[in-house]
């Protein structure tokens, strides 16, 4: 349902994507996992026609993302990190507007808005302006807006970032329901547990590359009992990196000062990889490469 091969994208001098492959079968959930700046959002933007790839090809629901963009847009829904709805309008007015922009007849758009508001527990708030909504309600409205034409493929860019635990669980339930109805979902997340709970397939993205992929259990098995190794560009970064790694992982790092490289034995490769990459990201190290092997 979602297929990408060798996706590349540059922003000025920065190589945001250095060749990403994806293959998501129908009715499954693929979790793109990785730290901030890894390239997750860029992948979503390319697959939803918001950004043209500099190289590689991608097809979603049988449509090429460049050549067949308009047909593709009728077959996808996109919900982002920000609830992309009009704050001043009511929830219902927002959904009717988005429905009209899918060229649904007015009556169909109204009926569909009513159904979605009901289903997402927003019926009572339907005629209030969105600015009076809570964070969880906004996110549900945003998701409802992406489901107006009941698209076969749904893209969710960090759907639960900034939500309280209860709203997060409620959103997970909604997603599971959609998947059980046959929807194919690609979601990005920084949380391993989110990918673990929802995804049939996890793709770990780091520095614009696919670092690892597989089912949650296979991924854990494959890299379980392995090592996380990190290469640094500068000797000074290595020393700082050692401190960071000691802080987040239980194992003692083996250090190769000449190669500016360190390696840590770990039990759960995927989780550790994310932990390390996130921690390094936070201390602004210019890491060149993190791999689980």
């Amino acid at each position: 349902m979602i297929y990408a091969e060798g996706l590349r994208r540059r922003y000025g001098a920065v190589d945001a994507l250095k060749g990403v492959d994806l293959d998501v079968p129908q009715g499954t959930v693929c979790g793109l996992l990785g730290p901030n700046g890894a390239g997750k959002t860029t992948v979503v933007r390319i697959l939803t026609t918001l950004l043209r790839p500099d190289g590689g090809t991608a097809r979603v629901a049988g449509c090429d993302v460049v050549a067949d963009a308009d047909r593709l847009r009728y077959r996808i829904g996109l919900a982002g990190q920000h609830a992309a709805v009009d704050e001043l309008l009511t929830g219902r007015r927002n959904l009717v507007m988005f429905g009209r922009l899918y060229h649904l007849p007015r009556r169909t758009a109204r009926r569909r808005a009513g159904e979605l508001l009901e289903r997402f527990g927003l019926a009572e708030a339907a005629d209030r302006p969105v600015k009076t909504y809570s964070g969880g309600m906004r996110r549900r409205l945003d998701l409802a807006a992406s489901l107006i034409v009941a698209p076969p493929v749904l893209f969710l860019d960090e759907p639960t970032t900034g939500l309280d635990p209860r709203s997060r669980l409620a959103l997970w339930d909604l997603l599971r329901e959609l998947v059980s109805e046959g929807t194919t979902v690609l979601l990005t997340t920084q949380y391993l547990d989110e990918a673990d709970h929802l995804a049939d397939q996890i793709v770990v993205v780091d520095s614009g590359r696919v670092a690892a992929s597989g089912s949650p259990s296979a991924l854990k098995g494959k890299v379980g009992g392995g090592r996380v190794s990190i290469a640094f560009r500068e000797a000074g970064d290595l020393s700082a990196g050692i401190e960071v790694v000691r802080g987040v992982l239980p194992g003692e790092p083996e250090i190769d000062r000449g190669e500016r490289r360190l390696a840590v034995p770990v039990e759960d490769g995927a989780a550790s990889l994310i932990k390390v990459a996130t921690a390094l990201d936070e201390v602004f190290l210019r890491l060149t490469e993190v791999t689980a092997a």
Binding site: D70, R71, G80, Q81, H82, A84, H103
Partner: protein, 276 residues
């Protein structure tokens, strides 16, 4: 639900673009209904300008060629309000960008030009409402009258509307670049407001220092004001430059030039715009 398909023929595509533009314009009206204060602002600002300039400046300024200052002033205020439509357009577009709404629109099968065209047409219609209010105010409070034929009066308002529409597109283009409403305001109002004063809108140009005079003479804002004065038959002052001697032609040229440059630029920018 059946899967929808994009239109196949050129004519169907046009109908599609039109329907999308109307939907987007409808959104602007709904937003305005949701914040009546905003609408009141649009309508009250021109009244304040008329009273403020008409009576505060009007008591001190005498026109070189004689004539009533308040009748001289009205075309100037019409131009200023038309020029400042760029500010509201830039602010609104930048806020849609910041909210990620532009992303959602772009991920939907909407005609490429529709979001910006729909917005601009709605903005223009709101501007026209404010012009009507202003004209009424000018007649009642300031004793302003158009003295030309009905056709000339209509042409005067038409020309001002064309200029306002051109300015809306400048604002739209700027709004696609800046990060938020405050930046949009600074990036438009910051140069536009002084530019409306560096013209013959409020004072005759005869008194300007010689180094400033050519700027004001060639400022498109001056041409717009002169064109409106000529078509309304309101008092004006001597024209020293070609644009002010042919104000209607130069206003038409300026407006068409701005639209020819900024409409394609803005639509292209929208197609590749990245929110945040």
């Amino acid at each position: 639900m059946t899967v929808l398909e994009p239109p196949a023929t050129r004519l169907a595509r046009l109908g599609w673009a039109l329907a999308d533009s109307l939907t987007i314009a409808g959104r602007t009206y709904s937003r305005l209904r949701a914040q009546p204060g905003e609408l009141a602002g649009f309508l009250v600002f021109p009244i304040i300008m008329t009273v403020l300039f008409g009576y505060v400046f009007g008591s001190a300024i005498t026109l070189p060629g004689g004539g009533d200052y308040r009748s001289y002033l009205m075309p100037g205020i019409f131009m200023q309000v038309a020029a400042l439509t760029a500010v509201a357009a830039a602010t609104a577009v930048s806020e849609d960008m910041a909210l990620g709404l532009i992303d959602r629109f772009r991920a939907q099968p909407i005609a490429r030009s529709a979001v910006l065209v729909g917005r601009s047409v709605a903005d223009l219609s709101i501007h026209l409402l404010s012009v009507a209010m202003m004209a009424l105010c000018g007649v009642v409070i300031a004793g302003w009258r158009p003295h030309g034929s009905p056709l000339e009066t209509l042409a005067g308002f038409g020309l001002l509307a064309l200029f306002a529409y051109a300015m809306i597109w400048i604002g739209t283009y700027i709004g696609l670049f800046v990060k938020n409403g405050a930046q949009a305001d600074a990036a438009t109002f910051g140069w536009l407001f002084p530019l409306t004063f560096l013209a013959n809108a409020f004072v005759p140009l005869e008194g300007l220092p010689s180094w400033l005079r050519p700027i004001a003479d060639w400022n498109p804002m001056s041409a717009v004001v002169s064109a409106a004065r000529r078509l309304f038959g309101n008092p004006g002052s001597a024209a020293a430059s070609w644009p002010l001697q042919h104000p209607v032609t130069s206003t038409l040229c300026w407006s068409v030039l701005i639209l020819a440059v900024f409409v394609p630029l803005a639509v292209r920018r929208y197609r590749t715009a990245t929110s945040r």
